[in-house]
Amino acid sequence: MVDNQSIYLALAITLFIIGAVGAICRRNAIVVFMCIEIMLAGVGIAFVTFSSANHSLDGIFMVIFVMAVAAAEAAVGLAIFLLMYRKLGTIDLDKFNLLKW
């Protein structure tokens, strides 16, 4: 049992929900991308809390792999934003309707 476990969990939940609200409400693609990173950070805190509560390292490895995937996602995602900006002249998510019917 970690001391103050509930405070860590509350922090994790709060960060996750803040990120989700931002991802829904904002229209700028880069801000939405950063909100997703906030959600990942919140999940990471929850993983590490349970990992140290259970004397295990699985949660820590999960966060390490999430970080690696987030780095790859940042590289590809920002390249896509650059391409969209060249094509449409904006990165407003409401204007990205190529795949909508």
Binding site: G22, R26, I30, S56, I64, M67, L78, L82
Partner: protein, 169 residues
């Protein structure tokens, strides 16, 4: 002492994350994001995950935020920031259900007394070999396959980004 640090750093992380959402300029959002990541690194230190705290500072606050700030500087975003966001019904429903989810998660995770299951990494093991040696031992034995897969994924991601962003002549 730990509680004081946790409350200060957690509070600053939450406020900085809120400012990421509410900041008018995208660059300001990115800078608040860096502050939030540093505070999350402190929380990792408080949770005895020092290695993860270092990775958080180097990978997130260093590399990923650098990427994002470069991208913001390459795009001309000044005219977008003026537009007003219309409150649409889908957004209201989305935020409302997220608030319900928040309350539910808080009730479930804070109300119950969660009993831990002791895992393989005991205090004695950490005291004998050091936390870093234990982590690397697990990383290169039990988690070797995911490690290699992630390295291939990162290489593929970098190649993909270069191919996507290249100008066609």
């Amino acid at each position: 002492m730990e509680l004081v640090f946790l409350l200060i750093c957690g509070g600053v992380a939450v406020i900085a994350s809120l400012l990421v959402i509410f900041a008018r300029s995208t660059l300001h959002s990115a800078l608040w994001m860096v502050l939030s990541f540093f505070m999350i690194a402190v929380v990792y230190v408080l949770l005895q995950a020092q290695f993860l705290a270092m990775l958080q500072v180097i990978v997130y606050a260093g590399a990923i935020m650098m990427f994002i700030i470069y991208a913001i500087m390459m795009l001309n975003l000044r005219q977008e920031s003026r537009q007003k966001t219309g409150a649409r019904i889908s957004k209201i429903i989305g935020v409302g259900s997220l608030i319900v989810l928040f309350l539910e998660l808080m009730l479930v995770s804070l109300g119950n007394n969660l009993t831990p299951i002791p895992g393989p990494v005991s205090e004695k093991l950490v005291a004998t070999y050091g936390r870093m040696a234990v982590i690397s031992n697990f990383l290169f034995s039990d988690y070797l396959l995911p490690f290699e897969v992630v390295s291939i994924l990162l290489t593929a991601g970098v190649v993909g980004a270069v191919v996507l962003a290249k100008r066609e002549r």
